[in-house]
């Protein structure tokens, strides 16, 4: 690696590497540098804050009444207290790919089977506390446990009219 290339490139900050026509790339591109360390630390800190925030939120929510909310392509198809399922209930959702089977009982919810290629939603396992959720992207289904009072109680402004 000729060393003078590095100089020629650092002198012209605006130029992108490839513009040094006929010249070699500066060696700085190949060596682990201070900027990399900084970037990695920044990302770690960012993720750390997010994860801590989520854990704290989950902890505070876990004391509230759990509600099951199932969303298909953005529209809510189930919104019920988990305690309503004293008997184990099977909820089947027909989708473009086939069928998704959700099992509900009074203390947990899980996706038993799903006609989707990745099966990530099935592997997510059992959902027990508010904040838990399972997502099936190919079927656009989100199964969530939410804290009961999180978004109820404000009927005004939510709708334009009420049919009765």
């Amino acid at each position: 690696m000729p060393k003078k290339d590095g100089q020629s490139n650092t002198s012209d900050k605006l130029s992108t590497p490839h513009q040094a026509c006929g010249q070699h790339l500066p060696p700085r591109h190949f060596r682990f540098a201070s900027g990399d360390v900084f970037l990695i630390i920044a990302i770690l800190v960012f993720c750390g804050i997010l994860i801590t925030g989520m854990l704290v939120r989950r902890h505070t929510l876990s004391k509230k009444t759990p509600y099951v909310r199932i969303t298909v392509d953005g529209s809510v198809v189930m919104n019920r207290a988990l305690s309503a399922f004293a008997d184990e209930t099977e909820y089947r959702l027909a989708t473009e790919n086939g069928e998704v089977v959700v099992i509900l009982n009074d203390h947990e919810v899980y996706i038993q089977s799903s006609d989707c290629p990745d099966q990530i939603c099935v592997q997510t396992g059992k959902l027990t506390k508010p904040g838990d959720g399972a997502i099936c992207l190919p079927n656009k289904i989100v199964v969530q446990i939410v804290a009961g009072s999180s978004d109820s109680g404000e009927t005004d402004g939510k709708v334009d009219a009420v049919a009765k």
Partner: protein
Amino acid sequence: MRSFRKSSECKTSKEKKNSARRGTWMPRMWSFFVVLSLLASLSACKKNTPHASVSLFALDTYVTISADGQEAEEAVQCASTTLHIYEEMFSRHHEGGEIALLNQATAEQPVTLSEETYQLLSLTCEYAVLTDGTFDPTVAPLMDLWGIGTENARVPGDDEISEALTRIDYHNIQLLPNDQAYVKDGTQVDLGGVAKGAIGDLLMAKMREFDVTKIILDLGGNICAWAKDDSLRVGVISPKKTDAQDPQSMCAIVTITDADLPMSVVTSGAYERFFEQDGIRYGHIMDTRTGAPVQTDLLSATIVGSDGTVCDILSTTLYAMGLERARDWAQEKHIDCILCAENGTLCVSTSLKGRVDAEEGWTIEYFG
């Protein structure tokens, strides 16, 4: 390709220009994104359009008419005046009203009806045939007998009921050409069951002639709504009256996006007008075969459609049919409906998929 460069040209100056241009390229791209996001947030802001609304008592209920747009005030004004005209036209209790006259008419002296009344009457008869009498516009004597929803509500005797049933038969309505009609054998026509839906449609058509962008008509819970380039959310009242603190609690929210046609959302159920005696709940919807309030396993039936009159008729019909029959029938006739079953399940037509959100305590099951 904006500039075509020949390699033989003076290289140094070109190179400088090029690098300078390249330097400005990235900021330009970023500013493009910034402008784009600004535009997006701007368009999210609602423009300040005039809004008008009026609430009044009519059709034995509470009516709210509201509109947005340049001529909102005029549209609402026009609608509230027209509302009373139609109300008198369709009421059988109004002396000299068309329906009152129709009930006195005979074969020798048929009454000439206005175009609106005649059309409504023929539509009503059509659906009476279609639903095989489950919906019947001549049910008035039974309603008067039971008096449900009034102070004189009672369980009548069998002989009274059979007497009233003899006066109920939608076949007795005779429609003649040239907007003429009469009724046979002392049968009484009562358009009370469809008046709200029909008036909603008529008012909507009137109001849309004005320069308005959004109209919401609430005729005692019959919703008829239209919004230009916007979506509206219409709640469906929860038929379970467990929560006394929140009388407005809903079981579902329907999103209306069809900008061309006004959409109606009409609910029928015995959760509001009923009376109880000896532990039995009697609703206000009558079964013309038994002469008693209908026995159904549905808590309520809600219809979503562009014709408010039809929605009004069908919601009563589907409610009276009960879950099994209503589901099959709605599927066969391609009716968009939400049927509330007792176990907290909402049976929703597949055609409404993605337009209905379940509220707390309810589960949607699609059918069809």
